[in-house]
């Protein structure tokens, strides 16, 4: 019998719940006994009913609930009447969000503390002990369940019918692939497709401009003359093609720098002495242009330190030395910023002599 089992656990005797002499608490305790719970202590936090201390706690809790209501009402009123539409300058609407937060916060905190105080201060203290019954199933039950599962396998008879096994493996496997194919297949884009694969070409590639060299333009679309950048100055430039300044050509932003004469001489010397020689002849006069897209994670390496001739990427602090082929000199970047071959067209505006000779942007596996 389960009842005797329970009685063993908690030590309490079962009672007849239909006995009219039982109090409600007696019935609750019988329920607890059946759930293997023993109430060890259960006592009011106050001496007698309606004691002074109890009344004080009740008053405090009521006060908290009233505050919650008033603050909630205040939230509602401010939500409706306070000028909320954003205006220029220092206006009343600046306080709209803080007022909402303060009123709603006070309301919810008061409600929360009220409920907590009710539970902690008013309700009787109790200490109950429940048995866990965390023991595993009996060995018999384990055996029965195991055998039942094996029996299911027997019923299917896959072991006895090797043809069926083979048919499931070979015949149905393609169905799983077929289910996965449209889910995955639609997403696949070949990053290397086309004559000018996206990983290796930028907006400065002449193919974007009908085969002609692409102009360097400003943010507002205007082309740039050498005189527009003063010595020691720099400017962010974009390819002069449709949407050239938008994120459609996110790999194209370039930094055009007008070096001082001695820095320019050093830069040119370093480009010529460089082993791979890709940057030879890419400068135009004292001007040099480097891709702005960091070779580490692709952020714009846009902080130009004039004193040290370094470019700093604010994302992960890679630093590139402008006068030495934009070689990384500090931080996690391994690869130099590619140099854009510069020249000037017949109208006197800067154009890219060709696309970048190195791959722009973060490094990847198959980059040659």
């Amino acid at each position: 019998m389960t009842t005797t089992h329970h009685a063993d656990q908690t030590g309490a005797e079962p009672v007849d719940v239909l006995d009219p002499h039982l109090t409600r608490f007696d019935i609750v305790k019988e329920g607890l006994r059946r759930d293997d719970i023993e109430i060890v202590t259960y006592e009011s936090q106050f001496h007698g009913q309606n004691s002074k201390a109890e009344k004080r706690v009740v008053r405090n809790i009521s006060l908290l609930f009233v505050i919650a209501g008033i603050a909630g009402l205040a939230f509602l009123v401010f939500y409706i009447v306070w000028p909320w539409e954003w205006e220029l300058g220092h206006t009343l609407s600046d306080y709209y969000t803080p007022i909402l937060g303060i009123t709603l916060g006070i309301s919810l905190l008061s409600l929360g503390f009220g409920i907590l105080a009710w539970a902690k201060k008013l309700l009787p203290h109790e200490l109950s002990i429940q048995q866990r019954h965390g023991e595993p199933s009996s060995d018999e039950d384990r055996l029965i369940t195991g055998q039942t599962m094996m029996f299911v396998a027997d019923e299917l008879g896959v072991q006895r019918r090797p043809l069926l096994k083979g048919a499931i493996g070979l015949g149905l496997a393609p169905l799983g692939l077929a289910a996965a194919a449209p889910l995955v297949g639609g997403l696949i884009e070949n990053p290397h497709k086309g004559e000018h694969p996206m990983m290796y070409t930028t907006g400065f590639h002449p193919s974007n401009n009908g085969g002609k060299p692409v102009r360097l333009i400003r943010d507002d679309g205007t082309p740039i003359r050498p005189d527009d950048v003063s010595a020691g100055g720099q400017m962010t430039v974009y390819p002069g093609i449709p949407h050239g300044t938008t994120n459609q050509h996110a790999d194209s932003p370039t930094l055009l720098i007008h070096l001082r004469a001695d820095d320019a001489a050093e830069t040119r010397k370093n480009a010529e002495e460089d082993k791979n020689g890709r940057n030879v002849g890419s400068m135009w006069g004292n001007y040099v242009a480097y891709s702005k897209i960091c070779t580490h994670a692709g952020c714009p390496a846009s902080l130009y330190e004039q004193q040290t001739n370094r470019l700093l990427c604010p994302c992960h602090q890679s630093q590139f030395l402008i006068t030495d082929n934009a070689q990384p000199v500090f931080g996690p970047a391994t690869r130099r910023l590619p140099m854009l071959p510069l020249t000037v067209d017949e109208e006197g505006f800067f154009v890219a002599a060709s696309d970048f000779k190195d791959t722009v942007g973060p490094d990847f596996w198959e980059r040659p």
């Binding site: 429940q130 714009p300 996690p332």
Partner: protein, 536 residues
């Protein structure tokens, strides 16, 4: 007339009978009402995460009513003058619209963001609690694994969420995410092209992140949270050792009404704190960042704090690149190590930890009693090592801000992070193990000799000794008989033994009340202690 009145009074009883006839609810409901929960403040840390998640769902649904997950270029024509006429994506425009032209929209946006931060922060603290007290041991390993998965999902929920407004900061985050995908060997460019639908940024990513953020990830989160709580319910909560507490019982209070009320009150309090923060502390002021443009970034570009450790690891990684000179040549960028291997290890190693520890300790028993951190110094050491690693990486994630504000060289900060990442975790291990051993030793000392009373006695031979209050019986010479350590707090001060009443009375009284232990000999003023106890 009389019968009608009776009918009304009987209605609840009739209703209950009807329910039980159909669903047999009475017996399981009784068991539910009676379920006993152990209580300790540290068990509530996980609840903060749960309650934040509920706030996230509620505020998030509101945000979807206004957000347009489209990357179509539009010219801004809203209230905010600073950006009028600027070309931007529809996603960013709708986020601005939500912030400026929807009544209370900014409040809801900030509530959503703060709730997300609180969600992640409380998960971290909750995990630390579970780890340091050994609550992950058998039979709860699976729930620990689910917890780690919840952190991982929260990480991605957060990242996909703060990417949605498509502002200058979040676009930079997306750019870095694409670089991380590109760093994967062999499949990198293919993965990135598949996720972004071509070249970065394309025009699809916000829509894709949106569905991941509002449906896929929250759906999995909700399912895993339900399983997480279901397992806690089924296996019953762990408890601290203490009087009457054994490995096979739960000592506490019944779920209804007291425990459930405390939960409800705590939910309201957490909700209230989030509301206060949402109103008073500005977060992610997207209108200051402008729309995302590939050519623009400001310094102090930081992700949310729970992603910062990864950004820090990426910053600290030296520029070691592996070139493979086959064919055209292949390369493995340095990004691969912190962002792919690092992130992978950071999630798989903790998942495996319960089994690794059990294997090392050859411990296959079921543990329902928690272990005080000091009683397992090596675990504490390993945990502190992991936390130190996490903290150094997180600080390094904002090293440019620190360098700027404290006028420290940026390169020095990077080097400090690199060295700190290697030196500090082992140091933390050593120090915390020593602290644990010291605390253990002091516990045993007090159990053997009693509590220091502060009373110095001079012996006839001139020596000075301190009088100790024994915690248990004494032998014939008056020396205490050493007590067995019970895995729980050992009283170390006389007022823990009832020598002094708690100093603070009223609403705020100390959480740890003096233990009601019979003291022999009775300290002075024990009658007074009785009086205060009865008065409360």
């Amino acid at each position: 007339m009389k019968s009608r009145k009776n009918d009304l009074a009987d209605a609840p009883v009739k209703f209950a009978k009807g329910v039980d006839d159909r669903f047999q609810a009475a017996t399981p409901l009784r068991a539910l009402l009676n379920k006993v929960f152990p209580d300790h403040w540290s068990f509530l840390l996980g609840e903060i995460a749960l309650f934040s998640f509920i706030v996230l769902l509620l505020s998030g649904v509101f945000l979807t009513l206004f957000f347009d997950p489209s990357m179509k270029e539009v010219a801004y024509d809203g209230e905010y003058l600073g950006l009028r006429g600027t070309m931007m994506s529809a996603a960013y425009e709708s986020s601005l619209h939500l912030s400026f032209e929807v009544r209370g929209g900014l409040f809801m946006r900030q509530m959503h963001h703060w709730a997300a931060l609180l969600f992640m922060a409380s998960i971290i603290v909750h995990m630390a609690r579970v780890f340091f007290t050994g609550a992950f041991r058998k039979p709860r390993e699976i729930n620990w694994v689910i917890g780690v998965l919840l952190f991982l999902l929260g990480f991605f929920a957060g990242f996909t969420g703060y990417s949605l407004p498509d502002d200058g900061l979040s676009g930079t985050g997306l750019r870095i995410a694409s670089a991380i995908m590109l760093a994967l060997p062999v499949v990198g460019t293919w993965i990135s092209a598949a996720v972004f639908g071509g070249e970065f940024p394309g025009e699809l990513i916000i829509g894709r992140f949106y569905i991941a953020h509002v449906l896929l990830i929250p759906g999995i989160l909700l399912a895993l949270i339900s399983v997480h709580l279901g397992i806690v319910f089924k296996q019953k909560h762990t408890q601290w050792p203490g009087p009457m507490r054994t490995n096979t019982n739960v000592v506490g209070e019944r779920m209804f009404p007291r425990y459930a009320m405390k939960q409800g009150g705590f939910f309201m309090a957490v909700f209230g704190v989030i509301a206060l923060m949402a109103g008073m502390f500005q977060i992610n002021p997207i209108w200051l960042f402008g729309p995302y443009r590939a050519s623009e970034v400001s310094s102090a570009s930081q992700p949310d704090f729970y992603v910062m450790f990864m950004d820090g690891l990426v910053r600290l990684m030296p520029n070691w690149q592996i070139y493979i000179p086959i064919g055209n040549g292949y390369s493995l960028p340095p990004m691969f190590w912190p962002a792919v291997v690092g992130l992978g290890a950071l999630f798989t190693l903790p998942m495996a930890y319960p089994w690794l520890e059990a294997r090392k300790l050859k411990d296959n028993r079921t543990h329902n009693l928690l272990e005080r951190p000091r009683d397992n110094p090596e675990r504490v050491g390993i945990g502190m090592m992991a936390l130190t690693f996490f903290i150094v990486a997180t600080i390094s994630g904002s090293n440019d801000v620190i360098a700027d504000k404290f006028h420290i060289s940026l390169n020095a900060m990077t080097w400090a992070g690199r060295i700190g990442l290697l030196i500090l975790p082992p140091l933390a291990y050593y120090i915390s193990v020593r602290i644990c051993l010291g605390l253990q030793q002091h516990d045993r000392q007090v159990l053997a000799h009693g509590v220091e009373t502060g009373i110095i006695k001079r012996l006839p031979n001139g020596a000075f000794v301190e009088v100790h209050q024994p915690l248990g019986p004494v032998d014939d010479h008056g020396h205490p008989i050493p007590l067995e350590y019970a895995g729980w707090v050992v009283p170390k001060k006389m007022n823990r033994l009832g020598a002094l009443a708690p100093a603070v009375k009223g609403f705020f009284f100390p959480v740890e009340k003096p233990a009601d232990v019979p003291v022999s000999p009775a300290p002075i003023g024990s009658e007074k202690r009785e009086e205060i106890k009865s008065g409360r």
